[in-house]
Structure formats: structure tokens, C-alpha cells
Subunit: 361 residues, 2 copies
């Protein structure tokens, strides 16, 4: 088992990564302080893993479950309200612990519910998709979407524990595995060039779900992210490099409608856009952009804008992005492979040119 | 002008108390860091003070306003969502500041909206009722009600500034002035016996809205509360003494329906219940209980349970209160006048007896 410590002062917590962790009551018992537990999961994950987790939690006096509908389209305030309904109907008090069993959507909503229920209760993440294991399980970003913008309502809230059971990836559809790999590649791009090279050499092993390769990639991704977050928990500065590709990706998701493109797929295309822009600024080379495109292609991820989306669609969608500050669009670009930087002075023509290089109309 | 510093490390902020502060742009300009401002107010307050505040804020590039319906019945997630709608429709980014202009309900919802919008934006409180000036403007408790419980959804979130303009009290209805005085009396009861004596001597001046008396009572109440909060921001321990009378009060509000009894009225009756219980435990004297009843009576506040409410109503309602921990009801009682203590071992017969002493059926 790999174990990682996310260092955030009195909000620090461990990430445990290994095979078969879900079955073992010890990990839950070590970190759940009260006697009440609410498992938040969805209709897809419940048939696969709920029984296992219920068995592991059987030592607790009170265990309730709420099953939410599956998908980004349901990541709303209304759905979170169903978690509050259950907590109150079942009389959970301030000592309860919310266990998020599922992917990033479940994690984001459960974490937000934990942040807000009685102004804050304990929270354990059990991410079951590669994307949520390498991304949303580190950093404490929780929240929901609003019809006018993604992740616009939320809180910074840290869990007590993140439990990553590699075995849950055996049931993950291929398309979602690839979507997770997009975020893994991101860490190589923004802060870990040697990891990017490792991915170039080991993509086949990841795609064939080799447990050792998966465990290594998850561990390294979480460590890369934890290092960035520890420096800047509330994203006042450098943490924003984690949004590499995301401003473009959010535009794709917003215009396509949440859920049509997977988040990781949108981020993949978005990373190419950011890379093309970095290249036009004279930072990374055309060869670097090509390496990114090749790696994404090997991982079965898109490198182009969705058909029919125009440059104007992007400009419009990006103007409501959280990365806008006092009217200026802030973007994450690459000075070199493995070295990201936040810029607020992108010339509009370069931006439009980079979008067109990725097929935006 | 009185000025008070709430000491919470990097979340510290000032409270300014005086006459005519709303008119003066300086106070806003000193603490608002961005260029965008959203004023959140309600249909009752807007006709009285919105224009004044808009004028004082006229130096900012972008000022929007959202008017919410007035009253505790509207303190819901749906109403907060209207604030999010406005913020997004008007394209407010992460550098925006939310200005809460109104009573406690506006402050609680605006603060919660500020805590959650883009995971946290700046927030200025302009409380316009005595209750919100002495209570919700200190301590960072924000949130909304749920059909199954009061303040069940929320966040701890501190403002950048609290601006208390005594002149706003000239338009406050008598009944609401008294409701605010209930919380003022509370500070005397739980931690400031000399202030309780001052209130016994100066209640007439407060009721006749003498500006000096009001300013003194607000300043001292805020200082008393700030001292308690500075010790225990997130209510892991001693801060709970601020809930003196509130567990009973919340039961009254829940059973009567929010808004039929004002919060301060429910707290007044609740304080008598807690005092009667403290007396039965052998702590404060029957004479102390009598002094509380007399002071509340002078302030035109209730000292008895609402007609028709039974002991069982209280027991049922209090079992979902946030003060319940691992199944145990925690109550704030008085060892002496000015000395509160949290207890978790109240004998049920004493509790029922105290409720009956206040007229519960």
C-alpha cells in the first residue's frame, strides 16, 4: 500500500492507495470519530461496491445511505439538497461522517454537503474513477454547477481521509479510464517532466490496467497535486496552474452541455489549446505540442475542438470563468514542458489563432 | 464612532459603530478590494436605505443589487440561489464583494452566498436591526434553514467589515427593537454581570432609542461576543455558551413556524427556561430567575412558552438541534448570573419541570 500525506496544517490528511482497501474496516475505523455515517453514492456505483463498504463500516452504530442520480448533469444544488434531506430525516448530528463513494461528481457534492451540513462535518473520500482518484481527491475543492457556470457554487473543504482502492478501476469503462489519464498527463505537463516521459513509455501498461502502473501513476499524480496545493490551499496564486487546459475545457463542457464530453476529454482538448497558445507565445516548441498530441492520441483522447464550436463560443464562455479577475482572463501556459505559468496578458489574436489550430470555427 | 476589532488571526475584521456611517463612502472604500459590488437587501429595507448605500458606493465601477423577500420563512437554499443567479447573470467574478444590507436573515444568506460563490468572495455586513447588530454581525455564522431544522445548512465565514449605523434603528419597529434587546440581555446573563446590571438601570433609555445608550449596548454586546468567538471560532467548545436560551428558542420557532415568533422573542422565553433549569440544578437562585423575568418584562419580551406548546413538543424538536452530539442533548446553563456553562447530563425530569414552570403543557 502506498501512503501519502497532504500537508495543510491542522487540515492535513492521508491518502491511502492500494488493492482491496475497501474491504478492510481498519482504514475507516482509524479516521471516523463519531458513531454515525452517511454513505453518498450513485445508481451506477451502488450495485458494484456499496455492499463491500457497508460490510467494512458495520462496526458503526448508525449507517445510512443516499443514492443520487449519476452524471455531471445532476451536480446541482437541488441534488445536494437530497443529501441534506437524508441527513436531517435520519437525524444525523454534527458528529456524523459523510463517506463519498463514487467519482468526482459524488466527491464534489458530498464534500460540499459535508462543508455545509451544520456548518461542517467530517468527510471521507472513496474515489472510484481514475479521474477522481488523481484529481478531486486532493485539494479540497468541493461544489456544484450552476446553469450559468461550472463549479460556481462551492467551498474549500478537506476530508479526513482519501481511500483509493485500485480494484475499483477494473469496472471503469475504457472511455472513463482515458478521461482520467488526461489529468494524469496534465501533472507531467505542468510540473513534472520526468513523469511525462514515464507516461510516454508506459501508456500501454496504463491502458491495459496494469495494477503497478496504475498505482504508480496515481501516487505520483496525487503527490504532484498535493505539493502544489500545500503551497497555496485557497488558490490565491500558484495553485491555479492545476487549471491547465481547464478554462478551455470548461468552455467546451458549457457549450456542449455537461456530460456530452467527459471532463477529462474536454481537458485533453483544452490542454492542446493551451499548449498551442504557449507555443505561439514563443515558450514551448512545436515539437513539445506534438509530443502532447501524440500522448493524448495514444490514450484515445481528443486533441481537437468539438465539431461546430466557434472561436466566439470560446470567448463568450470563458468570460464567465472563475479565472477571470477584474475583467482580465487569466490562463495557464507552459514556459517549458513541466513548467507552467499563469498569465493575464494574452493577446486576443494569439488566443484566436491557437483555438483555430485546434479546429475551432 | 466606536471601533472594535474582532481578533481571528488572518480572518480578523473591524466593527464600526456610529451615527450616519452609511452615508460615508470612506468606510466602504477602505475595505472593498475589487471593483464589483453586489448589494443584497430586501423589500422592506431597500426603500429606506438602498439609495444612501448606492450613493456611498458610487465610486465602484460595477454595482448591482438583488432584493430578496423579507422574513425568516425565506431563509432557504432557494432564496440564496437567487443571489447566485444575479452574481452570474451580472458576471461578477472572484474579486467581487457582497454587501449585506438588512437584518440577520439578509446577513446570514448573504454571508453564505459569499462563502460559496466561486468558493468564497469578500463580504461586508451592514446590519440594520438591533438583533443583527449585536448578534449575527459577530462570529461568522452564516446559513439557511431547512424544512427539518433551523440553520442546518451553512458555513463559518468572516466578513471584511461590519458597519453599524445607529440611525437605521430609528425605522425599526418596536417589536423588533425588543427582540434585539433579548440578545443584549443574553450577554449580561452568560458572561457580563455588570452589563446585566447596567441594563436593569438603563432599559428605559434603550426602549426610547437614546443614541448613546444604544451605541453603548451594541458596543458592549459585540465586545462580549467577540471575546467568546475569538477563543473558539468554530464552536468546538466554549462558544456554545452563546446559544444560551437558543435550544429552547429554536424549538419554539420550529413548532410555531418560522416568523410567527420573532427569533429574539423565542430566545427570551428560551432564556427563562434555561434559567429555570439552572435554578433546579441548584446553580442560580430563584431571585436571579426573577431578575431575568423582570428585565424581559420591562423590555416587552415574553417569559413563557407559547400557548398550546407541550413538553413533548420541546423534547421532539430539540432532538434534531445542532447541539445534540452522539445522541446527547447539550444545554447552556448558568452557574451564576454572568457565568454560563455547557452541560450534557441534564436529568429529564428537571428539564420537563423547568419547561412546565414556563407554561409548557
Amino acid at each position: 500500500m502506498h501512503s501519502l500525506h497532504v500537508d495543510l496544517g491542522d487540515r492535513s490528511y492521508p491518502i491511502l492507495i492500494g488493492s482491496g482497501l475497501l474491504k478492510d474496516p481498519r482504514y475507516f475505523e482509524q479516521c471516523i470519530r463519531g458513531k454515525q455515517v452517511l454513505i453518498v453514492t450513485n445508481e451506477t456505483i451502488a450495485p458494484l461496491y456499496l455492499e463491500t463498504v457497508l460490510a467494512a463500516l458495520s462496526g458503526f452504530a448508525k449507517i445510512d445511505t443516499v443514492q443520487l442520480p449519476d452524471g455531471e448533469a445532476f451536480k446541482t444544488l437541488d441534488t445536494v439538497n437530497r443529501v441534506f434531506d437524508t441527513l436531517l430525516e435520519k437525524r444525523h448530528d454534527r458528529s456524523t461522517t459523510i463517506v463519498a463513494l463514487g467519482g468526482g461528481v459524488i466527491g464534489d457534492m458530498s464534500g460540499f454537503a459535508a462543508a455545509c451540513y451544520q456548518r461542517g462535518v467530517d468527510f471521507v473520500q472513496v474515489p472510484t474513477t481514475l479521474l477522481s482518484q488523481v484529481d478531486s481527491s486532493v485539494g479540497g475543492k468541493t461544489g456544484v454547477n450552476h446553469p450559468l457556470g461550472k463549479n460556481m457554487i462551492g467551498a474549500f473543504y478537506q476530508p479526513q481521509l482519501v481511500l483509493i482502492d485500485i480494484e475499483t478501476l477494473t469496472t471503469l469503462p475504457d472511455r472513463e479510464l482515458s478521461a482520467g489519464i488526461a489529468e494524469v498527463i496534465k501533472y507531467g505537463m505542468i510540473c513534472d517532466a520526468p513523469f511525462f516521459e514515464w507516461l510516454e513509455a508506459n501508456m500501454d501498461a496504463l491502458l491495459s490496467r496494469d495494477p503497478d502502473a496504475l498505482a504508480y501513476a496515481i501516487d505520483r499524480s496525487c503527490a504532484d497535486k498535493a505539493a502544489v496545493v500545500a503551497e497555496d490551499e485557497r488558490e490565491s496564486g500558484r495553485r491555479a496552474i492545476l487549471n491547465f487546459g481547464h478554462t478551455f475545457g470548461h468552455a467546451i463542457e458549457a457549450v456542449q452541455g455537461y456530460g456530452n464530453w467527459l471532463h477529462g476529454e474536454a481537458v485533453a482538448a483544452g490542454m492542446v489549446m493551451a499548449a498551442e497558445l504557449s507555443c505561439r507565445r514563443g515558450w514551448i516548441s512545436a515539437r513539445d505540442v506534438e509530443r502532447l498530441r501524440a500522448l493524448l492520441s495514444k490514450a484515445n483522447l481528443p486533441q481537437q475542438s468539438p465539431e461546430g464550436m466557434t472561436v466566439d463560443d470560446y470567448l463568450q464562455a470563458m468570460s464567465v470563468d472563475k479565472k477571470v479577475q477584474d475583467g482580465k482572463l487569466r490562463l495557464v501556459l507552459l514556459r517549458a514542458l513541466g513548467d507552467a505559468q499563469i498569465v493575464a496578458d494574452t493577446p486576443k489574436d494569439q488566443l484566436m489563432d491557437a483555438l483555430r489550430a485546434c479546429g475551432a470555427g
